[in-house]
């Protein structure tokens, strides 16, 4: 635990090193012989899970940085090229992006565990504060990482968050200029964020070393909150804790893999598949889910400076927790009142997170204010008060006593859980009603897609027909700039041969040059060329289309979505429903109506569309029955065209979807077997210790 180790390696070469640098002794005393309380439960495996996630984030991040271009004009495209062209680039990117979310899932569990079992109390105050510092560094790292893909949410998230500092009196504006390196968020901002995003994880790793050091000096807390007294209270770290942690990591990986392989965009925002545009603010700016509770606190306070102070205060207050809660009993297991309030606090945090994602109006604002008061009251009123008035139940004499008397009473949590669930349910119900009342626009109907679900595959016929519809109809206004002709022959795509793709390419004229005379010239397309865009630049597209530039369609099915709302977004996690984009695109294509309903005014030059937000769309009805001929006898109807072209556009948005789902199945089989092996090994190792 501390002091010089008496470990001596048996290998003479290792002995030679050990005499000069006692590193093996350090490892042995920290991770092998280190005594760990024998009553630890699975909530204690999250420390190991977090270390694992940090390592994985650094590893995937370093490889991604080899392919990424931190330039405002190229960043968005370079991320798309990573996903499309780099070997297993889609896997690396999903692992890194989902990994950030999983890192926060684990850290929140880890923090709530510390809160419940009083792991911040004497002598572990420094350990706890180091943890809060890691958490702050993680938030900064996560925020800057989210800026790097340079989509709309990246850009506007960066604008909103950096503007928080402008609330500081006197020096605020100059701090913001310093963060931007310019007069607004732009290329210099992206460059410095990339640099810092690469640096901060290593700082986190450094503070983690201090965190583990402090842990090994004070020793681990445990569910009963009594310090180990005799040898009987502890077991050696290896193999006991090691194997248990491995099992924990394996189970956590199952959740992680669920997102990576089956719902990589569930935790993200569709707007981030639209390249950053400093001239257009998305209608609803939402930070990543892990910041939502704090964002809700920020917005619930009507004064700007006070809002910013409250938001940062909500995190900083954690540093003072060891002194706010003066109760001598550590574990909430023996604190009947603290336990109830703990669970209420958990629900408050979750509800704040939900409110952070809602528009700041009506009942949401009021609920946000109430919950913000609850959040601070927990730390400033409830905990100090409880430590004075609460009568804790007697704690066991020692850890081994606690392990032997395991059949204790555990009926009380049920009451508080029921209260809390009822409270949460009624709040949610209220918010759904108000959300329904305020929106009132049509929800796109669900479709049956061949590519949905864990084993979904693209329908090759639909892809080929969709390509035809795109080429003959959409291509006159919409580009498809991330798709190269060679992609048409790649596995998981429309299933053309290489020769067919080359022949398809040669029908196009592609601008090339300059030649030796310095002139640009046109030549027939090659397989490596990308689909040429119908307009030379955005301004030309805008001018030719009455002011509204037709968007590039490569990513459209990922860049469009509609609000699922509570409780659907929870069911979606289990059903793997992630076809909001395709459903929306197919609905818009079929949503044109000649007759404008009463009460809706459509401006000159726009058309009425049932599913388009605001109903006034600049695009005229693009498809009509019989417009495109099909060779395979499929019906030539608008419904069929829409479905085919949407399937095709889903493929252009994610050409490696089939590979993703296929690899996902293999990974799941492996992980389940691995988790079972770890579980039975753990049972065997712990057989004598329980």
């Amino acid at each position: 635990m501390s002091g010089p180790s008496d470990y001596q390696p048996s290998n003479p070469a290792l002995q030679w090193i050990e005499r000069r640098l006692p590193i093996f002794g350090l490892i042995h005393s920290s991770f092998v012989a280190y005594p760990t309380p024998r009553n630890l439960n699975y909530w204690w495996t999250f420390g190991a899970i977090l270390s694992f996630m940090l390592g994985l984030q650094i590893l995937t991040g370093v490889i991604l940085a080899m392919h990424y271009t931190p330039n405002a004009d190229l960043a968005f495209k370079s991320v798309e090229l990573i996903v499309r062209d780099v070997n297993y680039g889609w896997l690396l990117r999903n692992m890194h992006a989902v990994g950030a979310s999983m890192f926060f899932v684990a850290v929140y569990v880890h923090m709530f565990r510390g809160l419940y079992y009083g792991s911040y109390k004497e002598p572990r105050e420094v350990l706890w504060i180091l943890g809060v510092i890691i958490y702050l560094l993680m938030m900064a790292t996560g925020f800057m990482g989210y800026v790097l893909p340079w989509g709309q949410m990246s850009f506007w998230g960066a604008t909103v968050i950096t503007n928080l500092f402008s609330a500081i009196p006197y020096v605020g504006e100059s701090i913001v200029t310093l963060l931007w390196g310019g007069y607004s968020v732009g290329n210099p901002t992206l460059n410095r964020f990339f640099s810092l995003h690469y640096l901060l994880p290593f700082l986190i790793a450094g503070v983690v070393v201090l965190h583990v050091w402090a842990l090994h000096v004070a020793g681990q807390n445990n569910p009963d909150g009594v310090e180990p007294k005799t040898e009987k209270d502890t077991v050696p770290f290896t193999p006991h804790a090691t194997i248990k942690d491995m099992f924990g990591v394996a189970c956590f990986m199952l959740l992680y893999a669920w997102f990576i392989f089956y719902m990589p965009n569930y935790l993200g925002d569709a707007d981030n598949y639209i390249p950053a545009n400093p001239g257009v603010t998305p209608p609803h700016i939402v930070p990543e889910w892990y910041y939502l509770p704090f964002y809700a606190i920020l917005r619930s306070i009507p004064n700007k400076l006070a809002g910013v102070i409250a938001m940062f205060g909500a995190i900083i207050i954690l540093c003072f927790l060891p002194w706010l809660d003066a109760a001598k009993t550590r574990s909430s297991k023996y604190r009947p009142l603290a336990k109830q309030f703990f669970w209420i606090f958990v629900v408050v945090c979750i509800l704040l997170g939900y409110l952070g994602a809602q528009p700041p109006e009506g009942i949401y604002v009021i609920a946000g204010r109430v919950l913000t008061v609850c959040y601070f009251a927990y730390f400033l009123i409830v905990l100090p008060l409880l430590s004075r008035i609460e009568k804790p139940r007697p704690v066991p004499n020692s850890i081994s006593d606690a392990v032997l008397a395991k059949t204790g009473s555990r009926s009380t949590p049920m009451v508080s859980t029921a209260i809390v669930l009822a409270l949460a349910g009624s709040l949610f119900a209220g918010s759904i009603d108000s959300a329904k009342a305020s929106e009132g626009s049509d929800t796109p109907p669900g479709n049956k897609w061949s590519f949905s679900g864990p084993f979904g595959k693209f329908d090759r016929g639909a892809l080929q027909r969709g390509l035809k519809v795109y080429k003959e109809v959409c291509a006159s206004c919409h580009g498809l700039s991330y798709i190269a002709f060679r992609n048409l022959a790649e596995p998981g795509g429309p299933g053309y041969s290489v020769a067919q793709a080359a022949a398809f390419a040669s029908e196009y004229k592609v601008k090339d040059g300059p030649n030796d005379a310095g002139d640009m010239f046109e030549r027939p397309g090659r397989a490596a060329d990308y689909f040429p865009s119908p307009f030379p630049n955005e301004q030309a597209a805008r001018a030719a289309n009455g002011g509204a530039a037709p968007p590039d369609l490569s990513l459209i099915t990922k860049a469009r979505s509609y609000k699922r709302g509570f409780p659907w977004f929870i069911f979606d996690f289990f059903t793997q429903y992630q076809e909001q984009g395709p459903d929306y695109v197919a609905a818009v294509l079929q949503g044109f109506e000649e007759k404008v309903p009463e009460g809706v005014t459509i401006p000159e030059g726009s058309y009425f569309n049932k599913y388009f937000p605001g109903h006034a769309i600049k695009m005229p009805k693009p498809l009509s029955d019989g417009q495109v001929t099909y060779d395979d006898g499929s019906p030539t109807t608008v419904a069929q065209y829409s479905k085919d072209v949407t399937t095709f556009l889903m493929w252009t948005a994610e050409p490696h979807m089939e590979a993703r789902k296929q690899l996902g199945f293999q990974v799941f089989v492996f992980l389940i077997i691995f988790a079972f092996m770890m579980y039975f090994t753990k049972k065997k190792v712990w057989a004598d210790s329980h």
Binding site: V160, N163, S166, T177, G182, P188, T281, H284
Partner: protein, 138 residues
Amino acid sequence: MNPDASTIAAGAPIEVDLSPIAEGQDIKVFWRGKPIYISHRTKKQIDEARAVNVASLPDPQSDEARVKSGHEQWLVVIGICTHLGCIPIAHEGSYDGFFCPCHGSQYDSSGRIRQGPAPANLPVPPYQFVSDTKIQIG
């Protein structure tokens, strides 16, 4: 980490021709990466902006102080919400001015904050009239 020389040079003043902007219309130009709204206000908008009791505003400032005298029809403001930096939408909200979609701040036809979390009016960038139909921003 402050702006480098090229960024500062790119932030030099720009000239904008106002003649194509009809009454009731507005344009958005970019200066120093910031959107600048130039509105050709209607008589109604000017009257509304001037009829308000200045002392009752969250950030008291008269309309006269926010436009150049002799050019009352022209409102030039930086289109960045003073709350958290989103771009307000022109001709929206209940005050004939600007509405910020992010957190619901509303500005009037003089770009003054009337409702919502923003603490201050939309700032007026430094500009002057070079001629009757041309301004220089910066």
